[in-house]
């Protein structure tokens, strides 16, 4: 296939220039090779709107990236940079615009530096979390990484998509923990941000702002350049980890529980809290299923009765601590005292302790390894006794809601009602059947320091377009429900990016229009990542001066 609006002659000239830049064997044009760049978890697979790729080019150096970008600009070829290209559930390696050439940075896989005295790393985009972890472990360096659940992603790519992790608050927000970038601009020019703009800078990965306007945010979830290096602050390896869990009996106890845990987290006493409901274990019982299917769902009193009958708590929250064995014990003691004073019916259970470094056997026993900065792929749910009908992929719906118990329960009601209303009770999701999505037992994700994400993951299929169609309709509906409640998504697959951005419409999309002006100045030919997060090149803004015509979500 050809990139849209590009003649076969121009495409051939561009491919020749790409080959000259990176070598013939790193330009992929055969159907067989190009098919590998499809998004394996594309929710529009088999439907109009499925994203296809025209070719791929894989540079190994910054100079090669510059040559490719210059050639793409000369021939007006849309290019879509990916780091490891494994952002499955949020888009994979295929761009928003079908026919784009993927700029595959996987071969740029050097760990430039890791410093375990000043606690930072500088890496190229093709370095995965596994790679960085191995580099640190092989050298016995005394630093943690903060990784998302799948370890095959890239620190660069994940942070540029605003990805998140599980350790101490200042490292969990991966973009927030980055410090310094090197970027190839759409005209091929190379810049370094922050202190990196100073030749011979000694603190590129330590002080992020340099002087003057800070532009790093322009390169995240966007299309202003190709990031070829990034610095990251790293968590010094702590002496010890400890966990403990608080349980509260009643449904409405969630409100004071979140208030109290917010205080502990925002004061720096605990690391990431993990909420849950012990009642979730009952979700497949026929009587409970019937209760959940009822219009309006169960009342708070009915849920309290259910908890009482089964002698279960309504909510739990696991608190995590890093420090020494002594300080973590002291903090856990303090948390119990404070929580008990605020919620006299709360009960407590000691969790686990670890001393670092962990041996191989001890690592294997850690139930959720990213909480200790250990990358893995354990989050993937293939066939198992609990999951006899595995999905072929998933797409995430990830609305940001306030960090309160009231907001959690409001979101459960609003999203749950939408899911029931859409007849989605039996659709497969990442966490079970659709009927379980946004049940009264669902807890929010706590990656963000100041907000909750109320995540659901819906099946994507490479063999069932009708199921994809239904999932597409459901997620589109959920985006609208969220917007109606003042909630927006923090991240979304390309199939939904226009719809999500459309909801961020304050003052007639004035933020998006400002971003368009910057885009037009920086990338007048609109060659980089066309349409990423609603930012389309000028020549494609056919509807309302913002959207292309004939897009599935506009």
């Amino acid at each position: 296939m050809l990139p849209p609006g590009v003649s076969s002659n121009d495409f051939a000239l561009a491919l020749a220039a790409f080959k000259e830049a990176v070598g013939e064997d790193q330009v992929y044009t055969s159907d067989e090779d190009v098919a590998l760049y499809q998004d394996a978890y594309d929710v529009l697979w088999g439907l109009p709107g499925q994203r296809h790729v025209s070719a791929a080019v894989a540079p190994a150096t910054v100079e090669q990236v510059q040559k490719v970008v210059v050639a793409a600009n000369r021939h007006r070829i849309p290019i879509y940079p990916v780091s490891t290209g494994m952002d499955l559930g949020y888009g994979g390696s295929a761009g928003n615009l079908s026919g784009s050439v993927v700029l595959d940075l996987k071969r740029m896989n050097k760990v430039i530096e890791v410093d375990d005295q000043r606690h930072f790393a500088i890496v190229e985009p093709g370095v995965s979390y596994f790679d960085l972890y191995r580099y640190i472990q092989d050298r016995g360096l005394k630093v943690f990484i903060d990784c998302p659940d799948p370890g095959w992603g890239s620190p660069v790519g994940n942070s540029l998509d605003h990805g998140v992790g599980y350790t101490w608050y200042s490292y969990r927000d991966h973009f927030n923990s980055h410090c310094g970038m090197e970027v190839v601009l759409p005209n091929g020019e190379l810049i370094r941000t922050g202190m990196g703009a100073l030749p011979g800078a000694k603190t590129w990965a330590e002080y992020r702002y340099g002087v003057g306007p800070w532009v790093d945010g322009l390169f995240a979830q966007s299309n202003f350049g190709v990031v070829t290096k990034m610095g990251f602050h790293l968590f010094p390896q702590p002496e010890a980890y400890r966990s403990g869990t608080v349980f509260v009996p009643k449904r409405l106890d969630l409100i004071p529980l979140v208030q109290q845990v917010n205080y502990l987290e925002h004061s720096g006493i605990i690391s990431q809290p993990e909420y849950g409901s012990p009642l979730r274990a009952l979700v497949d019982e026929p009587a409970v299923k019937a209760m959940l299917k009822k219009p309006g769902g169960p009342s708070d009193a009915q849920l309290d009765e259910l908890a009482s009958q089964h002698r279960l708590s309504s909510w739990s929250c696991t608190l995590q601590f890093f420090g020494s064995l002594e300080t973590t014990q002291a903090n856990w003691n303090y948390c119990q005292e404070r929580l008990k004073a605020a919620m006299p019916t709360a009960t407590f259970e000691d969790g686990v302790t670890h001393r670092f470094p962990l041996g191989a056997d001890e690592k294997a026993k850690v139930p959720h390894k990213p909480s200790l900065g250990i990358p893995n792929l354990e989050a993937f749910r293939g066939r198992s006794p609990r999951n006899p009908r595995p999905t072929e992929g998933h797409v995430w719906f990830a609305p940001v809601i306030p960090k309160t118990g009231e907001a959690v329960m409001e979101a459960q009601r609003a999203f749950g009602e939408a899911v029931r209303g859409m007849g989605a009770l039996d659709l497969p999701t990442f966490f079970g059947r659709g009927g379980n999505a946004y049940s009264p037992f669902d807890a929010p994700a706590t990656w963000m320091f100041r907000a909750f994400v109320f995540l659901s993951g819906w099946a994507a299929s490479r063999s069932d377009p009708q199921q994809n169609k239904k999932v597409y309709e459901i997620v589109t509906k959920l985006i609208q429900v969220a917007a109606d409640h003042g909630w927006g998504e923090y991240r979304t697959p390309p199939a939904f990016q226009d719809a999500v951005v459309k909801a961020y419409s304050f003052n007639n999309h004035s933020l998006l229009r400002f971003q368009q002006k910057l885009k037009d100045a920086a990338d007048p030919n609109g060659i980089i990542s066309s349409g990423r997060y609603g930012l389309w090149p000028r020549h494609m803004r056919e509807v309302d001066g913002i959207w292309p015509a004939n897009r599935p979500s506009t």
């Binding site: 590998l36 490891t84 494994m86 026993k365 993937f380 293939g382």
Partner: protein, 124 residues
């Protein structure tokens, strides 16, 4: 009877020779498998909470008729291994050539098919 025994030894000898010739490739394949595949398809640890989604899925699928760990299988041809890596299956995606190069895939296929017995069924 003597003929059968002689033929069996001859076949075993041929397999051994083929494996000896492929030994460096198989060794490379083992390293590439560990790097690219083991996080999902490794051998399950005896205790603890380690969850290897690929190994678990295949253990459940075959209900004891075949091992869940790919390294223990004897029914995987090189072609079959390559097909799964480049086409994906179930929740496992397909892998680009910059992720798993053709050379690495040849080595992984050689490693996983080192005990291949063609009479076995070609299924994952």
């Amino acid at each position: 009877m003597k003929t059968i025994i002689a033929a069996t030894f001859a076949a075993a000898s041929l397999v051994a020779q083929a494996h000896a010739a492929d030994a460096p490739l198989i060794e490379k394949g083992k390293a590439a498998f560990t790097y690219h595949c083991a996080a999902c398809h490794g051998t399950q640890v005896v205790s603890g909470n380690q969850h290897l989604p690929g190994t678990e899925a295949l253990t459940v699928k075959y209900e004891g008729k075949e091992p869940g760990a790919l390294e223990e299988r004897t029914d995987l041809s090189p072609e079959l291994v390559k097909s799964f890596v480049r086409n994906g299956v179930s929740v496992m995606p397909f892998f680009r050539k910059t992720m798993v190069t053709d050379a690495e895939l040849d080595a992984i296929a050689a490693y996983l098919s080192r005990n291949y017995r063609p009479a076995s069924n070609d299924s994952k």
